[in-house]
Amino acid sequence: MNTEINDINRKLLMDRSTPGRIGATLPPLDVPKQPLPPDNYLRKNIDLPELSESELVRYFSKLSQFNFSIDHNFYPLGSCTMKYNPKINDEIASMKGIANLHPLQDESTVQGALKLMFELQDSLCEITGMDDISLAPMAGADGELAGMLMTKAYHLANDDPQRKKILIPDSAHGTNPASAAMAGFEVVTLPSDNNGNADIEALKASVNERLAGLMITLPSTLGLFDSNILEVCKIVHEAGGLVYGDGANLNSLLGRVKLGEIGFDIIHSNLHKTFTQPHGGGGPGAGPVIIKKFLSQYLPAPIVKLDKQQNSYSLYSPEKTIGKMGAFHGNFGALVRAYSYIKTLGEAGINQISQNAVINANYIRSQLKDYYELAFDRTCMHEVVFSAKKYKQEYGISALDIAKRLIDYGIHPPTMYFPLIVDEALLIEPTETESKETIDYFIEVMKTISEEARNNPELLRNAPHNTPNTRVDEAKAARNPDLRWLPENNN
């Protein structure tokens, strides 16, 4: 893009400000004027931008066009489940009877909202095969923290304070070890075996009376369903530990298996992934924590219960709750969207999700495995990992270069360099909402890029070519942090 045009577009709000303009209409004062507090309490000046509504709309609309998004682009970002977000969900969540409710209203005045939450609790327990749930955690990582705090509370209640060790596979998301640490645990990394499963021998060697639990993502971030999972759960349980399931990849299991039935004690579900709360450029999400009965008393508050005789719903706090995860009842707006999604699809629709997601991923695997090396050559679930190691060795082309070249073809890059255990990883998750045509286009593009890597590697190294910015200097950003507008930047 032409630098001059870019500079105009990129001018910040404060640099667009003109004294005397305003972007909102303000209601007049309709009560008799009241005395003001003493001057020393009052703010003398506040610097905020002054722009008209039309200027603001043009600025933010223009900026929005610098984003790739699901509604515009294929977005096979592995492990993030970037599937289509149904529009009806947003419409339901913005209904007045949903969006205007105050969180501290008396329970008798919000029976509809509580009923909705109660039904969602039920559906999520049914889908996962668990017994009990709290919708309170406000993101996946928050659900993990809740689950880890419950694990801690459980062992302390059993007079097992020495159980301080949480095992986490080397393929795990970074939030897992970070959440375990926030709950006061020591993190021990569990290696994967040659098939991408948890290494059973290593697992046996690391369980003992200090084990608090295992935190495992199923399918793993390698896109693989651990074929030893029953044995894994058994080993952990026999050692007195709990099995925690990171539900980040739950999309591929819907209707195929219930985690509660194969030995998981606690899981969380990222509603923004599996149940389509739009990702919003990085939130909001919701991460309900879902558990087996023996842990119910530790659930974070509040939980919705139904008094069948009175046919009334109320919020309660379990007896030995780990506490509250946020000021109110969780991210209700996100809960409503998940509810709307489950209601729309019902049993028949929910059942079809995993199959289509898994077919799409395996189709990509089968069509590209001769072009890109598979990290593990076996049937995958909803996502597939390739390694660009050979491109790196032979042509000096990295996973990053391949990913950036995809942008030129209008496709969002896959997740790169994750999972950490695969060199030059490209983690591709197509999701069930993409058509065969889109996936065929992606496959063709990936083949073309493979050829370009051999014949015209500069094309990849300089990619992307048609975006508002070329590759950015991340080192400069970290070395000299410029994190806000300041008047002296105004030049």
Binding site: M1, L12, M14, L29, V31, P32, Q34, Y41, I46, L48, P49, L56, V57, L63, N67, S69, D71, L77, I88, I92, I98, N100, H102, P103, G112, G129, L145, K152, G174, T175, A178, A181, G255, V257, I262, P278, G280, G281, G282, G323, G326, A327, F328, N331, T344, L345, G346, E347, A348, N360, Y363, R365, E432, T467, N469, T470, R471, V472, D482, L483
Partner: protein
């Protein structure tokens, strides 16, 4: 076992047909979908899923409308509830822009070349939060105000390696609960201090003050700042974003970390979430901050660009040694707040703050005159105030509800009937007068 692939139901969100699937399976080299799931133990595969029948859009809307009819909805009822979530008018531009799918359906901006929209608006959010609070730096957003406060106290302990958190007794009891949840296994202890007899213990990492406090009163923040700093503790201020249009901001009283609930800035109350936590601090502490931070840089052509930065603090790089496990920055809600702040601007935010103040004082002065009712405190307050009542708030609210009024929050304590009332620009004089006239009949 059910075989859902044979189901006649056609999902509007799955484009592939049976024919597409057959072709793809052929290419994969298998003849049944079930073969793709063979790693799942046989006995547990394809369990029965007991969910309701699919609803059409029309049926779903009708069903949810029925649920909504079981709710009493602020707007249809006049509402005087606050306690951490406040009704403010949301300009149309906020929803129109934030619901653009370019913003709504994109992910965390890991790929800066295709995420400059999100990144630049996040940088704007950080900038406007700094200007509003007069603090030096801000992050891109936390879950909500209450968890931002908990994270602030963890950050404080990382900065000065002290282990006791002092919290003023006028901080919302809910926030104290959340603080306990997040700090319970971090080797930190919490103690409550009273406003008029503050004595900070040794090894106190921070003093937490809410301003305006839970009861709506404005504190003498310079006094608390002095007390904290004389004890080599940090001052953490939990402030109200709208109040900063009128009252002195945390940067002016030397707060080390300042937190606010972003909900008041253009975000619906939505039964408690999603909201966004505003997190600001002094520049020297930026590397101990939790959460996403966006920085300004250049691209290979030397053109201005924005990018996620200082990521070595974060979980995806530092894992168990990260400053926090947080992954989200609640970007969409932060965007709503950004548009709100930009839309109201310099004069608008002041005007809205003053309307809140004026209406609260008008309401308080009238209620204070009703026999049996009196203001709990004679201190300065902003948009919220506590009143002593002649009956329990539960009884009073029940009567108010019949008059289409959602009354105040019950904060009764030790046998004293106390109600916390809040007014904003959406509460008209007529509504306030109606409230007062009903209250004057309940004595």
């Amino acid at each position: 076992m059910n075989t859902p692939n044979n189901s006649e139901y056609i999902s509007p969100y799955i484009p592939n047909t049976d024919l597409d699937r057959r072709k793809m399976l052929q290419e994969i080299g298998i003849d049944s979908i079930d073969q793709l799931f063979k790693d799942i133990p046989n006995n547990y595969r394809n369990p029965k899923l007991n969910l309701t029948k699919p609803l059409s859009e029309f049926e779903l809307k009708k069903y949810v409308e029925e649920l909504c009819s079981m709710n009493m909805i602020p707007g249809e009822y006049s509402c005087f509830l606050g306690g951490g979530s406040y009704q403010h008018h949301i300009p149309a531009i906020v929803n129109q822009i934030s619901s653009r799918s370019e913003y709504m359906t994109s992910y965390t901006p890991y790929q800066p070349e295709v995420s400059q929209g999100t990144l630049q608006t996040e940088y704007e959010f950080q900038s406007l939060c700094c200007l509003l609070t007069n603090m030096e730096v801000a992050n891109a957003g936390m879950y909500d105000g209450s968890t931002a406060l908990a994270e602030a106290s963890l950050m404080s302990a990382r900065i000065n390696k002290k282990s006791k958190i002092a919290i003023l007794n006028t901080v919302s009891p809910t926030y104290i609960e959340i603080l306990k949840t997040y700090t319970q296994y971090q080797g930190l202890s919490i103690y409550i201090v009273k406003e008029n007899e503050i004595k900070l213990e040794d090894d106190t990492t921070c003093l937490i003050v809410q301003n305006p406090n839970f009861y709506g009163n404005i504190n003498d923040m310079n006094k608390f700042s002095k007390i904290a700093h004389e004890n080599q503790s940090l001052l953490i201020a939990y402030t109200d974003a709208i109040s900063l249009g009128m009252f002195i901001p945390p940067g002016d009283y030397d707060a080390d970390i300042a937190i606010a609930e972003g909900q008041t800035l253009g975000v619906p109350t939505s039964f408690g979430g999603p909201y966004v936590g505003i997190f600001t601090c002094k520049k020297k502490y930026v590397r101990q901050m939790p959460g996403r931070i966006v920085g300004k840089t250049v691209d290979t052509n030397g053109t201005t660009a924005y990018v996620l930065t200082l990521q070595t603090r974060e979980q995806h790089i530092r894992r168990e040694n990260a400053t926090s496990n947080i992954c989200t920055s609640v970007a969409l809600i932060a965007l709503m707040s950004t548009i709100y702040m930009a839309s109201l601007g310099k004069s608008g935010i002041k005007h809205i703050a003053e309307l809140c103040y004026q209406k609260a004082h008008y309401a308080a002065s009238l209620i204070n005159k009703i026999p049996g009712y009196s203001l709990l405190s004679d201190k300065i307050f902003f948009r919220e105030f506590a009143i002593k009542c002649p009956k329990t708030p539960k009884e009073i609210n029940k009567i108010l509800l019949k008059q289409k009024i959602i009354g105040g929050l019950d904060i009764s304590n030790k046998g004293e009937n106390l109600m916390l009332l809040s007014t904003t620009e959406v509460n008209s004089k007529e509504e306030i007068d109606h409230l007062v006239s009903i209250l004057s009949k309940i004595t």
